[in-house]
Symmetry: C2
Subunit: 458 residues, 2 copies
C-alpha cells in the first residue's frame, strides 16, 4: 500500500475511502467537455469536517495534491482530478445544520444541494436567492467555491453576497472558522470574501453560513420577441433607464429558439432574432406597474410582440425556451458553455461579435444570456464526427473572450477560471495583479497542494 493510502487508512474509516478506478472515474471531472483530467490515487468522501482535516493532513504529510469537489457541476474543469491526487468529495456532508428565522441565516454542510437549502428556508418563510442553473444538483460548497450566479442575481446578487461565514480546512492543515454570524463585522482582513470564488485553491470548505431574505412576492413574467439583437439590447437599456430592477432579465437568441423548435415543436416563433424574458417580484400594484413598464420598454425598443402574465403555468411556458435551450443543443453534440460578462450597454455588440466568431470559425454557437447583467453564455456545439470541430471551437472560444475584454468585460461572469480559462485570466489581469494573486495563493497554500494548476498556473 502506498504511503498515502497507509496514511488515509490510519486516519479515516475505510468506508469513506475509495480506490476502485471505476468508481473514481465518476469523481474525476466536472462538466467541461475538453478540459484534461487524470485518475486520482483515492477519492475520500468525508462525513465530518474533522475527516476533511485528517485527509488534508495526510496529503500534506505525503505531498499529495488535493482536489475538492461538490457535485461536479462546474463548467470550467475546476474540480478535475490530477493523476495521483486525492479528490475530497463533500457530497456526503449534506446536512442543513440550522435555519434561524430571527437572524435570517442558515448554517449548512458543504454538500447540501442548492434547492434543498431553498426549500428549508421556505419552510421558515425565508428565501435563499442564488439560483444557478444547476440548483437541483449543485452544492453550497461548490457554489461558494465558484461564487455561483444565476437568474435572479440581476436583482439579488451572487452567492458571495450571501456568505457570512465559513469553516475551512486550510493549506497548513488547520480547521478554522472565518467570518461571523452577525449582520455586520469588520474584524481583520476579510478572508471569507477571499475564499469565495477561489475554486478550492485556498482551502477546503467544510461548513457555510449564509444570509437569508424574507420570502418574496409571486413573480410576474414578461416576454418580448425582437427582430434584431440591437433592438433587444435597446430594450435591456430601456428597462434600466426606467429605474426598474427586474428579478430576471434573460435573453434567448434565434439559434436557441430554432433548436428548441426543432426538438419540441413549441411553436415559439423562430422569426425573432431574440427573445427577452423579464420578471418582477415587486408586490401588488408596484408589481403590476413594473410588469407593464417592462412591456412598454420592450415595445418601444421595437419588439414585434410582448406579453405579460402572472399565471405560473403561462410563465413556465414562456420560460420553456430558456430552460430547454441547453438540452436542445446537447441533443446535437457536446456543448461548451462560454461565460463572458460585458457592460450592459455592450450587450448587442457582444452578441454580434459572437455571431461573427461563429461564422469565422465555422462553429454553431447559440446564445443564452443573463441580459440584465450583461452575462452571456454562448453555447459552442462540438458536432461529433467532425475532426476539426474542437480546434475551431477553441479558436471561437478564445475570440469571444478577447472580444469581451475589448468591450470592458471579463472572461468569466459566473463559471470561474478552472482549467479552461487560465489563458483568459492572463489576458484579463495585469501581470502585477497576477503576481498579487500568486503571492496570496502561496501565503495560504505554502505547499502548493490545494487544487494545483487550477485558476493560476502552477
Amino acid at each position: 500500500m502506498s504511503a498515502l493510502l497507509t496514511e488515509l487508512h490510519s486516519e479515516l474509516p475505510a468506508e469513506v475511502i475509495t480506490t476502485d478506478p471505476d468508481v473514481m472515474g465518476g469523481f474525476a471531472h466536472d462538466q467541461a467537455p475538453w478540459a484534461e483530467h487524470g485518475l486520482p490515487a483515492a477519492v475520500v468522501r468525508p462525513l465530518t469536517a474533522q475527516q476533511v482535516q485528517a485527509t488534508v493532513l495526510a496529503c500534506l504529510r505525503t505531498g499529495t495534491a488535493i482536489v475538492p469537489r461538490g457535485a461536479g457541476s462546474g463548467l470550467s474543469g475546476g474540480a478535475n482530478a490530477l493523476t495521483g491526487c486525492v479528490v475530497i468529495s463533500l457530497d456526503r456532508m449534506d446536512r442543513i445544520l440550522e435555519v434561524d428565522p430571527l437572524e435570517r441565516l442558515a448554517v449548512v454542510q458543504p454538500g447540501v444541494v442548492n434547492d434543498a437549502l431553498r426549500a428549508a428556508a421556505a419552510a421558515h418563510g425565508l428565501w435563499y436567492p442564488p439560483d444557478p442553473a444547476s440548483s437541483a444538483w449543485s452544492t453550497l460548497g461548490g457554489n461558494v467555491a465558484t461564487n455561483a450566479g444565476g437568474v435572479c442575481c440581476v436583482k439579488y446578487g451572487v452567492t458571495g453576497d450571501y456568505v457570512l461565514g465559513l469553516q475551512v480546512a486550510t493549506g497548513t492543515g488547520a480547521l478554522v472558522r472565518l467570518g461571523r454570524r452577525t449582520a455586520k463585522g469588520v474584524a481583520g482582513l476579510d478572508l471569507t470574501a477571499l475564499m469565495v470564488g477561489s475554486e478550492g485553491t485556498l482551502g477546503v470548505i467544510t461548513e457555510v453560513t449564509v444570509r437569508l431574505r424574507p420570502a418574496r412576492a409571486a413573480e410576474r413574467t414578461v416576454a418580448g420577441f425582437f427582430p434584431s439583437l440591437v433592438a433587444a439590447g435597446r430594450a435591456v437599456a430601456a428597462v434600466a433607464a426606467a429605474g426598474i430592477t427586474p428579478s430576471a432579465l434573460e435573453l434567448v437568441d434565434r439559434r436557441c429558439l430554432d433548436a428548441v423548435d426543432a426538438w419540441k415543436n413549441t411553436g415559439i416563433s423562430s422569426e425573432a432574432e431574440a427573445l427577452l424574458l423579464g420578471r418582477t417580484d415587486a408586490s401588488g400594484l408596484e408589481g403590476e406597474h413594473e410588469a407593464s413598464t417592462i412591456v412598454l420598454c420592450f415595445e418601444q425598443a421595437g419588439a414585434t410582440f410582448a406579453v405579460q402574465t402572472s399565471d405560473p403555468d403561462e410563465a413556465d411556458a414562456l420560460f420553456a425556451a430558456r430552460r430547454l435551450a441547453l438540452p436542445a443543443l446537447q441533443r446535437l453534440g457536446p456543448v461548451l458553455t462560454e461565460d463572458v460578462c460585458v457592460p450592459k450597454a455592450q450587450l448587442a455588440t457582444m452578441l454580434a461579435l459572437v455571431g461573427r466568431a461563429a461564422e469565422r470559425h465555422d462553429t454553431t454557437i447559440a446564445t443564452i444570456a443573463h441580459a440584465g447583467d450583461g452575462n452571456l453564455h454562448p453555447l459552442l456545439l462540438l458536432r461529433p464526427g467532425d475532426p476539426g470541430a474542437t480546434q475551431r471551437a477553441q479558436a471561437a472560444f478564445d475570440e469571444i473572450m478577447a472580444g469581451a475584454l475589448e468591450l470592458g468585460g471579463t472572461v468569466t461572469g459566473e463559471h470561474g477560471i478552472g482549467l479552461l480559462k487560465r489563458h483568459g485570466l492572463r489576458m484579463e489581469l495585469d501581470p502585477a495583479v497576477l503576481e498579487m494573486q500568486r503571492a496570496v495563493k502561496v501565503a495560504l497554500d505554502p505547499r502548493g497542494l490545494l487544487n494545483p494548476g487550477k485558476v493560476l498556473d502552477g
Copy 2:
C-alpha cells in the same frame, strides 16, 4: 535634507509635500480619543494616482512607513501617524470621474466625500446607500478601507457590498486595477473584496468604482418608547418575525435621551428606557402597510407610545434624539465610541451587559445602536479632571468586547480594528486565523511598510 525628503522632492511637485509640524499635526490622527500617534516626517497630499505611486516608491526605497488617510473620521486610530512615517492624505483627490446611469455605477477618486457621491448619484435618479454617520465629511477611500456601515445597511448592506473595483498602489510599488465594471465577474481571487476593510494595511486606494441603485421611495418613520431594554429587544425581534426589513431600525437608550434633554430640552420623555426609531422605504400601499406593522410590533412588544409619520419635518424631529445623542454626550467630555455587533436576539442582553460594565467601572456609558443589525455603539464618556477615568473606561471597553464575543458577536461591527481593538482582534480570532491574516499581509506588503502596527500587530 533626509534621504526620504530628497526622494519625495525629486518625484513630486513641492506643493503636495508638507513638512510644517503645525500643519502635519492636523494629519497625525483620527477621532479615537486615546489611541497613540506620532509626528510624520512628511504629509503628502497627492493630486493623481501616479503621485500616490511615486510616494509609495519613495517610501519603499527609503524604508519609510506609509499611513494612508481620508478625512480622518475613523474611530479606531487606523489613520494615526507613526513617528517618522509619510502620511498620504487622499483628501485632494476629490473628483467624481463618472456616473453611469445605464450600468448603475460611479467611478470616484478616493477623496470624494460620501455625501457628494450621494448627491451626484441623485442627479441621475440613482442612489449610493452606505451612509456612515460621518457621511458629510468622510471619504469614499476611507469608507472602503474601513468597510463603513451606517443607518440604512440594515436593509441595503455596507460599503463593501457596493465596491465593484479599485485602483490601488500596492506594497511593491505597482499601480493596479482590481475588480471590474461589469455586474458580475469571477476572474481569479477576489482581491477587491480583500482590500475592502483592510484599513490601509494592504495598499493605498487611488480610485473606487461603486454600484449604485435606483433612487428609492420617500421613507416613513416610526418611533416607539419602551419601558425596558428587554421590551425594545422584543420589538426588534418582532419586526424581523413579521418579515419586514426596515430601511432603518435605530435604538437610543435612556442615558442618551437624558443627555439630549439636558442640552436641548427637547421634551423627549426620559421616562423611557429606550427609544426605537424605524423607517421603511417601501413604496405606496406596501410602505403604509410596513409602517403600520412596525407600529403594531412596537405596541405588542410593550411600547408605551408609538407613532408614525411620512412628513419629513416630523420624521426629522423624531430622529433628533438619535442625531443629537453623540454631540450631547461630547458636551460633557471626550467620548470613546464602542462598536460591538451581536446576533439580533442578543440585543437586550448586550444592552444589559453594557449597563453592568458602566456600573462596575464607574463610567458613564450611553448607548445608540443600529438595533436592526445588532450593532451597538456604547458611548463611553471620559469626564475631564477625573484622573482614573480613562483607565476605568478602558476596563469597561474591554469588558464590553469580551461580552459581545461571549454572545456570539464581534468586537467591531463597522469601525474597524485600527489601534484600539488589536487586543480585541486577538480575543476574537483563532490563532490559526491570525496566522492566515499575517501571511496574507506579508504576501501583499512584503516590506511591512503599509500602515504598520494597525489591525495586526507588527
